[in-house]
């Protein structure tokens, strides 16, 4: 089966003054359509950097990113903007909801970015309805008009998941999605992600340092010293 998203020989270094600090040293990774892949690794191992490069938020120094066998990391900026909006959904550890907007408006955000004023005006009912349905799906149908500050951590992360799905992406990139939640809320969020993964055949890249969470993915890989190794939970 062909991979949905693949990283081939990804390399990335940061500069701290005159010193080069390599983070990724030829990372090869792929995920099939509908597969949930967990990337584990110690703090500072480059998990987030890998996710950012896969999601076109950052550019690799070496290597390529392929989606459906098409290289995407070298596309012009406006194409990359558009792909982030349509192809990828991001979930962050600290939710990153926009505090000025209500939960529903946060969920509508990918569509607000995609549509100009006139196009939005014509589609506003559909966009609103879909966002409300997503909120319903993540169990927050009663919190549509609440501001992020009025939501609990678990609720904020569920809202962030609804937002990540609002643009109808085929790939979900989650950076420590449960890292800021208590165990019960974290498991709830994970169950939700698992359900969505199955329902929508979403390809998911889950970055975490929590082995318990990683165990629930279809496949796990470990990032160590800038390289990917297969990860077998039982061996840890």
């Amino acid at each position: 089966m062909a991979s949905h998203i693949a990283a081939v020989g990804l390399g990335k270094s940061y500069w701290k003054g005159p010193n080069e600090v390599p983070v990724l040293r030829g990372v090869d990774l792929e995920a099939e359509r509908g597969e949930m892949v967990a990337v584990v690794g110690a703090s500072g191992s480059g998990k987030s950097t890998l996710l950012h490069i896969l999601g076109l938020l950052d550019a690799p120094d070496a290597g390529t990113v392929l989606v459906d066998s098409q290289r995407i990391d070298n596309r012009p900026e406006r194409h990359r903007d558009s792909m982030r909006n349509r192809l990828f959904g991001f979930i962050f550890q600290f939710y990153h909801l926009l505090p000025e907007l209500t939960a529903l408006e946060n969920v509508m955000m990918p569509n607000l970015i995609r549509h100009g004023a006139w196009a939005y005006w014509k589609e506003r009912r559909r966009i609103r309805h879909e966002a409300a349905e997503l909120m319903q799906r993540v169990g927050l149908g009663h919190r549509l008009d609440h501001r992020p500050t009025e939501l609990s951590g678990g609720e904020m992360q569920r809202t962030a998941i609804a937002r990540a799905l609002a643009g109808r992406p085929s790939i979900l990139l989650a950076d420590e999605p449960t890292g800021n939640l208590d165990a019960a809320s974290g498991q709830g969020v994970l169950d939700l992600l698992r359900d969505l993964n199955r329902e929508r055949e979403l390809t998911m890249m889950l970055v975490t340092h929590d082995q318990h969470i990683a165990q629930q993915a279809d496949r796990g890989v470990r990032l160590a010293e800038g390289r990917i190794e297969d990860w077998v939970p039982a061996l840890l």
Partner: protein
């Protein structure tokens, strides 16, 4: 669409940005108020200047003038055609005014203007500015009314003996009294500037009349002899000239043209008197500069380098120019207020960009483009400018609308008159809201608001999404 939504939400939730709105608002309101008041003053001043001066003035190079003024007027009429509606020959000369006040006297330097009152009235608003002591309008005439003649001691005595039997004694007495009456109330009337005949105590007190209707005034002026010598004449005050321009009201004395020509020794052997000005009223809508050029050319052919044709605006050039410069400088200074508001926007926006760094990263992760992020902050700046100028414009216009009421309240609060109406003789603060000024102020404020947001917007747009997401 997200740009508009976020601009609107930022405006409603970032209260610190309201400081910029208030700065823009105050700047715009101040500029509107100051411009409206200055335009009002300027407009009134122009009205009054134009009212005192005719549309065009033909002036001779010599103060002694020219005695062929009928020929000059004929040339003017021929060159100006239908554009010339009326003309008035005038003799203007500097002089000294003196009249008795109680046991003392009042002496002032003046501009003596010899005119034919009715003709002068046809060339401008001269008649509109003539009043008696009670503020009632008087006719443009130098005729001394009988009632003024009768209030003098000799006049009163003449009235008394009117009914007595006719005999040689009465006739001799009448002749004697008539001479005395002429000395006390000269037959020639004069209209003097309001400020020449009154005393202004200030502090809201009414002006006190020092000269009254019927007061005898003496005028001294240069005659036209080979050597400069002083000529004298006496007149009776028959009216006051009150244009509202203190420069005129404190210097102008109008006397009959023929009398001034006679006493200045400007009447030739053929009986023709000289004038040194011709005031011309032209058809409304005529291009004054072009007509002045035409008349100048016509008069050059009659007498080269002797006549100068002025438009009323040229004649008052320095004064009008000074007002225009004053207004320009004031506008530049006031615009600094909005510029300061612009720096406020820049500072506050820079702060907001720092505060919103992570949100900018999130928006970029969700697909927002660099230009889209830039657009949020430029739009926010525009919105701040629009709200500030909108509220400022409404506030400024309301201030202008109720400026006199506000002035009264301020006068009560600070305990002295803010606007002393006796200085300009305006009963109210004149205001004129010019739409083009309003538009220029609002557009200027919007421009500054947007300009001030360019740098923070550019900074926000250039943020690297990963660095922005990791910002703490």
């Amino acid at each position: 669409m997200y740009k508009y939504l976020l601009c609107w939400r930022y405006l409603r939730t970032r209260y610190i940005a309201l400081a910029s709105v208030i700065s823009v608002m105050l700047g715009v309101a101040t500029m509107i108020v100051v411009n409206s008041v200055m335009a009002g003053f300027s407009d009134k001043m122009r009205d009054r200047l134009h009212g005192v001066l005719a549309d065009l003035v033909v002036e001779s190079a010599s103060m002694d003038g020219f005695d062929n003024f009928e020929e000059v007027m004929a040339r003017v009429q021929a060159a100006g055609g239908d554009d010339v509606l009326a003309m008035a020959p005038t003799m203007e000369t500097p002089g000294i005014l003196k009249y008795r006040v109680g046991s003392g006297s009042m002496t002032r330097p003046v501009q003596i203007i010899g005119v034919r009152a009715a003709e002068r009235a046809r060339t401008g608003d001269f008649a509109e500015f003539l009043f008696d002591e009670k503020g009632a309008k008087v006719e443009p005439s130098f005729q001394v009314p009988e009632r003024l003649k009768e209030i003098s001691p000799a006049g009163a005595r003449l009235k008394e003996i009117e009914g007595e039997p006719e005999d040689a004694f009465k006739r001799a007495l009448q002749e004697q009294l008539e001479i005395q009456r002429r000395q006390q109330v000269p037959d020639q009337g004069a209209i003097i500037g309001y400020a020449l005949g009154t005393w202004h105590p200030g502090k809201g007190q009414p002006d006190v009349y020092l000269a009254h209707l019927g007061t005898k005034i003496s005028l001294a002026f240069p005659t036209s002899g080979k050597k400069p010598e002083a000529g004298f004449d006496e007149f009776t005050v028959v009216g006051f000239f009150k244009s509202g321009m203190s420069e005129y009201d404190s210097t102008h004395v109008y006397v009959p043209l023929e009398q001034l020509q006679k006493t200045r020794l400007l009447v030739g052997p053929d009986g023709k008197g000289a004038v040194n000005q011709i005031q011309i009223k032209v058809r409304p809508g005529t291009n004054l500069d072009r007509l002045a050029d035409r008349l100048q050319q016509a008069l050059e052919r009659l007498h080269p380098m002797f006549f100068k044709v002025w438009t009323w605006e040229q004649k008052q050039g320095p004064l009008l120019g000074a007002v225009a410069i004053e207004q320009s400088i004031l506008n530049i200074l006031l615009f600094m207020i909005i510029a300061v508001a612009g720096f406020g926007i820049l500072a506050i926006f820079s702060m907001i960009v720092v505060e919103k760094t992570r949100d900018i990263g999130v928006m970029k992760a969700l697909g927002a483009s660099t230009s889209g992020i830039r657009g949020i902050f430029l739009g926010y700046g525009l919105l701040l400018g629009a709200v500030g100028s909108g509220v400022g414009m409404i506030g400024g216009l309301l201030f202008v609308r109720y400026i006199n009421e506000i002035e009264k309240v301020l006068s009560v609060v600070i305990g002295r008159k803010v606007f002393d109406d006796s200085i300009y003789y305006f009963d109210k603060i004149p205001t004129l809201v010019e739409p083009h000024t309003l538009v220029a102020i609002v557009i200027g404020a919007l421009f500054i608001a947007v300009l001030a947001s360019v740098w923070p917007a550019q900074r926000a747009a250039r943020l690297h999404p990963v660095k922005a997401l990791r910002f703490e």
